[in-house]
């Protein structure tokens, strides 16, 4: 028996998760090859670093969205949370609060929004779509009220460094992105919280009857999403030394797109941080490559839309086999 088990385990290189891994990542490489053949400026260190920096905010929020999608939910409030974190931190910085503390306060507020989402969904049994649609609008309204609609600018230079400066030749946002991807990838694949996240999305009732603390796990997941949106908001504000109340509008759907291209299912139970990283980069590379080719932003939207549907379609095909 154990011999048989061993044999099949060694074959698991080719199981469906691994196949998905390869198909998404090969999609990214195909794009990179196409763009490098088309434009000599694409495959340069400067441009690739640029792609990575531009992808950072989307990737950060997409990781949170991946957690949420795996539970079978959706978080529409992350775009508004991006603005809330930036504006909150900016207000405190202007009030003379030390930068790290101001940033933590910004993150605390967006984590709070996440917890609120989670509580309403877990205990109030309200649909995630409605709850986060509500907080999306409310939070946007709050940021607009806090700023009277005017971006808060003139932030300290040290804060700007977080977004602009390079360490060892690599822009800081990339380090931030990697650190958070490692942390949240680890939580999802290697901790009980991560396992429970999959279990809830796979079969909520079975997980609950197995003793999983379903409510707590849901709240944690929405809190993660809030925190990651906050980090994205701070990185964005740091790069432009300004916190506009309109930051991050529509980003929540880019986050869904990245997760889904990376193999997450909107029905829950499926998804992984590595896939989401690749998904976010597929969108980032597409935008950058099409820009270099001089394709108009209008047409870029058409292309990205088609890619989202095609990615999910091929995923379905693979599953139905």
């Amino acid at each position: 028996m154990s011999e048989l088990v061993g044999k099949i385990q060694s074959k698991s290189l080719f199981d469906s998760k691994t196949k998905q891994f390869f198909s998404t990542i090969s999609g990214l490489f195909i794009l990179i090859i196409i763009f490098s053949l088309n434009n000599e400026n694409f495959l340069t260190t400067a441009n690739l670093l640029n792609v990575a920096v531009q992808t950072t905010p989307i990737l950060l929020i997409a990781m949170g969205q991946t957690y949420v999608l795996i539970t079978g939910g959706i978080d529409l409030s992350i775009g508004s949370n991006i603005a809330l974190a930036g504006v909150t931190a900016a207000i405190f910085m202007k009030a003379g609060i030390p930068i790290p503390i101001a940033m933590l306060l910004g993150l605390g507020v967006t984590a709070g929004v996440g917890v609120l989402n989670g509580v309403m969904i877990a205990y109030g049994k309200l649909p995630p779509f409605i709850v986060t649609l509500g907080t999306m609008t409310t939070v946007r309204g709050i940021t607009l009220t806090m700023t009277q609609g005017i971006p808060i600018s003139g932030l300290p230079e040290a804060f700007n460094n977080i977004g602009i400066a390079k360490t060892l030749g690599i822009p800081n946002p990339i380090f931030i992105m990697v650190i958070f991807a490692v942390i949240f990838g680890f939580i999802l694949s290697k901790t009980r919280t991560g396992r429970y996240t999959y279990a809830l999305g796979s079969n909520f009732e079975a997980a609950r009857l197995s003793g999983v603390n379903a409510h707590m796990t849901l709240i944690k997941v929405y809190m993660f999403s809030g925190i990651l949106a906050g980090v994205a908001g701070l990185v964005m504000a740091a790069r432009i030394i300004s916190a506009p109340p309109t930051a991050g509008m529509g980003y929540e759907l880019d986050a869904v797109a990245s997760s889904v291209i990376g193999g997450a299912s909107t029905m829950g139970g499926e998804g992984a941080i590595f896939g989401t990283v690749v998904g976010a980069f597929i969108i980032g590379v597409l935008r950058n490559g099409l820009n270099l080719m001089g394709v108009s932003p209008f047409i870029q939207q058409i292309v990205i839309g088609v890619v989202i549907i095609a990615a999910v379609f091929f995923d379905k095909l693979r599953h139905s086999k």
Binding site: V5, T191, R195, A206, A207, L209
Partner: protein, 500 residues
């Protein structure tokens, strides 16, 4: 030749691994109510699904008005005047009564829906039955009994000659049942034929002319029926008990370890108390809807309770969620393994480890090694047939799936384990393995609570039988001193005039 409205001859139907119907016959006359009886799994519903075109027969013939028919779809059966009213009503709650009755048969005027016309037609049908319902009422605003009337009106609106009712009274109060019987009498007068499936044998006597009895997919008999023949009917339904199929073991029965006191729930369990001792298998028997699953779910913390107490080893335990139950060594193998027991998209290993991550996880990280060791151990111990522990559960047979649901609890120290219909839908070999498993637990001094609809199984395995009916505990019987007739007697002891 008699003129039957419906005649089924030698109907056979096989599902993978199960002969669901074996040469079953049935006749129905004009203006007659025929009761169709049998225990759970006897084949009543399958037979009616064949008659109404939901399933196709493997062999045999169906005659309607002396004409042989073959239905590929429910629509075709409907065209021949056959309507079925399922236990779970098939109505669109957000539409009105008239919209439901004429769904897919809407009348239009210049391409627009003609609400007036269908409302008028509906009113005519409602009036013919003297019903106090308006065509424009939303179905969601009606009580269940009225919704059932809407289903009957729907059947009348297609001029159904044959109306099949599957457990029509299971959700009704006594008064509503009387109302329903009044309607059935009217339908009889209109020369309709009615096939009536019910477990409520006493009640049945008021309404049916004849009964046809099935057992294990076989035709047993058809007889005239009134209340004096109750015992005879039960005997036919039950057949001869086969006791030696089940490997009963004797064990030393210890102290009371599990006490349930006066449990009442919003789901319909009423003031139930019982005790279970170490090393004892206590079965909970009853018919569908008796409240057995509701009781064990509430005890396990899956559903809230209104009042009542649970004690484990003389300690009062507060169980507000399954987590609390699990912490106290009380586990439950739920009734519907695909819905409540397993994540079928996840692997054997992931399912097995889910409740046991507290054992396998280090300070921070989950350990694949420890999880795999735990799973492999259980796979071997329970003889779970799977090509790999990383196989998705949905690819395994029902029996092996069930062993995973059971196995995930056996990793932990158990005091009480609840099995809710553990052998439903699994093959005989796997059933026997589950029996042996329960016996092993009993020998280890664990209190086993076991809900089952299969009386021979209950009699063969348990030490005691609790019988429930309509949310109440009706009897606490020593298995060796009882028999199927007595259990069925208590299981059909509905309280007269009780408000639900």
């Amino acid at each position: 030749m008699d003129s039957y409205l419906v005649e089924l001859r030698d109907i056979e139907k096989e599902f993978p691994g199960v002969k669901a119907l074996d040469h079953v016959a049935l006749t129905l006359k004009h203006g007659e109510v025929l009761g169709l009886l049998g225990e759970n799994g006897a084949g009543k519903s399958t037979l009616m699904k064949i008659l109404s075109g939901v399933y196709q027969k493997d062999a045999g013939s169906i005659w309607v008005n002396n004409e042989e028919v073959a239905f590929e779809t429910p629509k075709e059966a409907e065209a021949k005047g056959i309507a079925i009213i399922h236990q779970e009503l098939n109505l669109c709650k957000h539409l009105t009564v008239a919209e439901n009755i004429f769904l897919t048969r809407e009348t239009t005027k210049f391409g627009f829906l003609d609400e007036k016309e269908i409302n008028q037609k509906t009113q005519v049908i409602l009036d013919s039955l003297n019903l106090d319902i308006k065509p424009t009422d939303l179905v969601s605003s009606l009580q269940v009994s009225k919704q059932q009337m809407v289903e009957i009106c729907k059947a009348l609106s297609i001029d159904a000659e044959i109306i099949i009712m599957d457990e029509p009274t299971s959700a009704l109060t006594e008064k509503e049942i009387e109302e329903l019987f009044g309607i059935i009498h009217q339908l009889k007068k209109r020369n309709k034929g009615i096939i009536y499936i019910s477990h409520r044998l006493e009640e049945l006597a008021h309404i049916v002319d004849r009964v046809t009895i099935l057992r294990d997919g076989q035709y047993i008999t058809t007889m005239d029926y009134d209340v004096t023949q109750l015992q005879q009917v039960i005997k036919h339904m039950v057949g001869r008990a086969i006791k030696d199929k089940f490997p009963r073991v004797e064990s030393i029965i210890g102290d009371v370890i599990f006490e349930v006191d006066h449990i009442t729930t919003p789901t319909g369990v009423k003031d139930v108390s019982f005790r279970v001792r170490q090393g004892e298998i206590v079965a909970i028997a009853g018919l569908m809807g008796a409240g057995r699953t509701e009781l064990v779910r509430a005890v396990f913390g899956a559903d809230p309770i209104t009042s009542g107490e649970v004690r484990i080893e003389d300690q009062l335990v507060k169980i507000r969620s399954p987590r609390d139950a699990i912490k106290n060594g009380l586990y439950c193998v739920p009734e519907d393994r695909k819905k409540d027991g397993l994540s079928i998209k996840m692997t054997v290993n992931e399912n097995m480890a889910l409740p046991n991550l507290d054992f396998t996880t280090g300070r921070l990280m989950t350990s694949e090694k420890k999880e795999a060791a735990l799973t492999k151990n259980m796979v071997e111990k329970l003889n779970i047939r799977t090509p790999s522990i990383h196989q998705k559960v949905k690819n395994l047979s029902g029996g092996n799936q069930q062993k995973i649901v059971v196995g995930k609890w056996l990793v932990r120290d158990a005091k009480v384990i609840i099995f809710d219909e553990p052998t439903r839908g699994i093959d005989v070999a796997a059933k026997i393995e589950i029996y042996h498993l329960m016996n092993r637990l009993k020998e280890d001094g664990i209190a086993v609570i076991y809900v089952s609809s299969e009386l021979p199984e209950v009699l063969g395995l348990s030490d005691r039988v609790l019988v429930m009916c309509n949310g109440r505990l009706k009897a606490d019987l020593k298995t060796l001193d009882t028999n199927q007739e007595e259990i069925l007697h208590f299981a059909t002891q509905y309280d007269a005039l009780e408000e639900r």
